[in-house]
């Protein structure tokens, strides 16, 4: 197949948008019985666009599926099919199906062919059961109005009537030249009061330069409320069923026509004159309900025949204006309603350019090389200055000294620009975490249904940005943790109710930036983890000996879930529990130079916290030397550097450890790992012992001390990949160049720690302080306090 990567990524983007629209519709339906019709229109357009795109690229399976789906969505949009849970489920199923079809495009040979037929059969079945329409619901409406509505507009009108809203016609007239401004202003106001169904223009025969507009809208507000909200001179509101009318008077002569709960900005004066007229149905059962008048006192505004609020009421449904409701923070603003979609179908949905990350890496490398050139130039400048000084004792020769100064000024300017350039490239690599969160929302929904658990997902901080590479690598670990939370954490509804919790379980996913790190927290309010059970399980599996377990702390016990092969359930379920869970999560996070902590309390829930660097492309590094070789250590995994004396080092079962503030720290000699030969420790003349520098590095929940000869300093380094010969060497993550044209290797702390703790940890557990396998992290303690109630897990 010859599908371009552009097709795949663009299609993926559309599918993600589609899925987000569905999630939002579902959320709104859950909160009331109404949803924003623009969302459904948006979903329809997404699928339509996908169809156009895939037909251009010749991906027939996707064309076929999106075509059928488009028909279904159109029927839903026009109210020919009811938008109920089963319809929504089917739509969500299509999201997965699209995803798998797309995966098949990327790798035509991988996996089984995607089975679409059974889905299409279900789709066809859905279409067979159309809803009964109460055809006479609009019998009171003037045919001259109904006659010019499109099918879609008529459906929206019916929908508004069904939801118990009153139908109004608002009369406004606009100056032809200023119609855009005038209409936009009016539209914005009307939006707060209900749904604008359509605009019925008519030429004002009296004046050539004006247009009369009838605006058809559904609203649960009364005429006075509506008129009050519009507050534009000359606008009339007409209730279409009763024919009641209210003309908004000129502001100057209005003797306080209405109380104003939300004062509106001054009307845009004479360019527009507007009236509101009410269309309502006397047959509405809830017509007597005058709840709507509570907001605005009887108006009796001198100038017009304003009715008492109640008549136009229909203010019965609580969720009447569901669209204003509960949208999450991650909601992207909808593009303006468009036509059938053909005008946009060939254009991209967003103003973006997709760039292969490798190209950015290349640019980043070039910037790094420029920085080296800059360093060399600076060097030359310094040498010239020295020569100058030597040749002209008693003062620089004025001209060449002048040139030298100019040269050095320019170098400084160049330096500033270079760092801006570097910053700019870094920012290009950043993407919001929302990209992953959206996918997770879908997973939660699906798993929740499959496991018959009612689950609410709260997302915050979706706008937090991270390097694209990191965001990509995060989705699998997060997915795994969410599966765990749903499978092991959240209880069945009955169980929850029995222990006095709300029926619906809550999982919250939040992200925030803290310094140059990003923290992601995943919290559930499920049954939590009992550290005693985990401890006993660990003993049974042989991860911990019985005697060790007797004085293990809760914090240490909980962290045993990160041990490879650990699983708290005896039986694997569909969702998780195959025992490959948390240790893989930990490994993935470590690979990103991140850390993971867990806290849990039986009966209350669990919280996982991941801390990640913002980017991996350029990092701050600690430059060290050992056995005459220079290395860089990523600073984000360095917790501290300390100096120890050789007599403080103890040997436990062949592994060196040192006690730091009561905690036992395993030591690794880089010179031994890389077989570099003798270290050059500094002999302390006073004590006659060697002094050693130890760089304490932490990854995930482990800490290790790296023994080095010297600390040379900190520096920003651009990481470059290393050649094939070195790639096999464990413990090396890449190479970088320091300012003086030296190539230096960057240590892969994750591997070093991983290799070391395997052997060392067991020894530490049985020998020295218990804290050897405790939770290590450099989180500040203050934040933990806010959460409270998590017990003494000792973050």
């Amino acid at each position: 197949m010859s599908e371009s990567p552009e097709f795949v990524s663009e299609a993926q983007e559309i599918i993600e948008t589609f899925s987000r629209q569905l999630l939002e519709i579902e959320g709104q339906l859950r909160d009331g019985d109404d949803y924003d019709p623009d969302l459904l229109n948006g979903a329809f357009r997404s699928v339509h666009t996908l169809k156009g795109l895939s037909s251009l690229s010749g991906v027939n399976e996707i064309v076929d599926l999106s075509h059928k789906l488009e028909n279904t969505l159109d029927a839903l949009r026009l109210g020919k099919l009811p938008l109920n849970q089963s319809a929504l489920d089917l739509l969500f199923e299509s999201v997965d199906l699209f995803g798998r079809l797309l995966a098949g495009v990327v790798e035509p040979d991988g996996g089984q062919p995607v089975e679409v037929d059974s889905f299409l059969a279900k789709l066809a079945k859905l279409a067979e059961a159309p809803e009964e329409q109460a055809e006479d619901a609009l019998s009171w409406l003037d045919d001259s109005i109904l006659g010019v509505l499109t099918e879609y507009e008529e459906h929206r009108l019916r929908e508004n009537v069904r939801l118990g809203r009153a139908i109004y016609r608002i009369h406004a007239s606009f100056d032809l030249l200023a119609i855009d401004v005038g209409i936009e202003a009016l539209k914005a106001k009307l939006k707060n009061y209900g749904e604008v169904i359509t605009y019925l223009p008519s030429a004002d025969l009296a004046a050539d330069d004006r247009i009369e507009l009838g605006i058809l809208m559904g609203s649960k507000h009364s005429i006075p409320e509506l008129a009050d909200g519009i507050a534009e001179e000359g606008v009339a509101v007409e209730a279409l069923a009763t024919g009641e009318r209210f003309v908004i008077p000129a502001p100057s002569e209005a003797p306080e026509p209405l109380p104003e709960p939300e004062p509106e900005p001054a009307p845009t004066t004479s360019s527009s004159g507007t009236r509101v007229e009410a269309i309502d149905d006397d047959d509405f059962p809830d017509d007597e309900d005058d709840g709507s008048s509570s907001g605005s006192a009887p108006d009796s505004g001198g100038s017009a025949s304003a009715p008492a609020g109640g008549d136009s009421g229909g203010a019965s449904s609580a969720g009447g204006d569901g669209r204003g409701g509960d949208r999450g923070g991650s909601v992207s603003s909808e593009p303006p309603m468009d036509d059938g979609g053909d005008q946009v179908s060939l254009k991209s949905l967003s103003q973006t350019v997709r760039v292969d990350l490798r190209r950015l890496d290349h640019l980043m490398n070039l910037v790094g090389e420029l920085a080296l050139v800059h360093a060399n130039l600076t060097n030359i400048g310094d040498r010239m200055q020295r020569t100058q000084l030597a040749n002209h004792i008693g003062g620089l020769s004025s001209t060449s000294g002048e040139h030298l100064r100019e040269f050095q000024d320019q170098l400084r300017v160049m330096n500033r620009r270079l760092s801006l350039l570097q910053q700019g490239i870094l920012e290009v690599r950043m993407v919001p975490l929302g990209q992953v969160f959206d996918k997770l929302a879908r997973v939660v929904r699906k798993l929740g249904r499959e496991s018959q658990k009612d689950i609410r997902l709260a997302i915050s901080g979706a706008e937090t940005e991270l390097d694209k590479l990191i965001v990509e690598e995060l989705s699998d670990p997060l997915m795994h943790m969410i599966r765990n939370a749903i499978d092991h954490g959240i209880e069945l509804p009955a169980e929850r109710v029995a222990v006095g919790k709300p029926r619906a379980g809550k999982i919250s996913l939040s992200a925030f930036q803290k310094g140059n790190r990003v923290v992601i927290e995943l919290t559930d309010d499920g049954r939590g983890m009992d550290w005693r059970i985990i401890r006993d399980k660990a003993v049974k599996r042989g991860f911990v000996s019985a005697e060790e377990s007797s004085d293990i702390t809760p914090g240490q016990a909980i962290n045993l879930i990160f041990t490879p092969g650990f699983s708290t359930r005896d039986k694997a379920t569909e969702l998780s529990g195959r025992g490959v869970g948390m240790d893989v999560v930990k490994t993935n996070i470590s690979r990103l130079s991140g850390m993971i902590d867990v806290a849990s309390e039986p009966g209350r829930g669990s919280r996982f916290r991941i801390t990640l660097p913002v980017t991996l492309a350029i990092i701050q590094a600690l430059v060290i030397e050992t056995s005459g070789q220079t290395f860089c250590i990523p600073l984000n995994s360095v917790l501290e550097s300390i100096m120890v004396q050789s007599d403080e080092i103890q040997t436990i079962e062949g592994h060196e450890v040192v006690s730091v503030r009561g905690r036992t720290l395993p030591l690794i000699h880089l010179s031994k790992v890389f077989e570099l030969g003798e270290e050059n420790p500094i002999r302390d003349p006073r004590s006659n012992y060697d002094r050693l520098y130890v760089v304490v590095v932490g990854l995930a929940q482990h800490r290790v001390g790296l023994v080095v000869d010297e600390l040379l300093g900190q520096q920003d380094v651009v990481i470059k990949p290393i050649g094939r010969a070195l790639r096999q060497v464990p413990g090396i993550a890449g190479a970088t160049e320091l300012g003086d044209n030296r190539t230096v290797l960057l240590l892969d702390v994750a591997t070093l720690v991983g290799e070391a703790v395997g052997g060392v940890e067991a020894a530490v557990g049985s020998g020295g302080g218990r804290e050897g396998i405790g939770v290590f992290s450099n989180h500040d303690v203050g934040r933990e306090k806010e959460h409270g109630g998590w017990g003494d897990h000792g973050f």
Binding site: T150, T198, P201, A203, P336, D338, D339, G340
Partner: protein
């Protein structure tokens, strides 16, 4: 779609095409200028093609201008209402350039099929002017 329609019309070299972005822009342009042919989609935001048709027919100078309504679905309801509002012809997508040109010919031969039974064929008065 709009590009497609414009391309077809310009290929004919008989029309100078004037595009507008939405229904409100059309409302502004129509009473001021004289057009030889009006083409509109039925599904537009705010002002639909049917409503635009009704508006055009209220404007004296455009009471008999050929007007074609395009729709993405062959909705019988929409077609009936568009024709009742005074459209000259209705074309459902997808259509070929040939089908579109035939619709133009029909529209010019009889701009107001809703008014007459016989079809007086009195259309085709202005060829030159711009188009929507």
């Amino acid at each position: 779609m709009r590009d497609y329609v414009c391309a077809v019309l310009e290929d004919e070299q008989e029309y100078e095409v004037h595009e507008v972005g939405n229904g409100f822009d059309a409302l502004r342009a129509l009473p001021r200028d004289l057009y030889g042919l009006i083409v509109t989609d039925i599904n537009m935001p705010d002002v639909s093609g049917i409503e635009l048709t009704r508006f055009v027919r209220q404007t004296p100078r455009h009471s008999k201008t050929p007007l074609i309504v395009i729709s993405s679905e062959a909705s019988a309801v929409d077609k009936d209402r568009a024709m009742a509002a005074g459209a000259s012809a209705f074309v459902a997508k997808p259509f070929t350039p040939q089908e579109f040109l035939e619709a133009i010919a029909r529209a010019r031969a009889n701009p107001r099929p809703d008014l007459d039974e016989g079809g007086d064929g009195g259309g085709a008065k202005a060829d030159g002017g711009g188009d929507k």
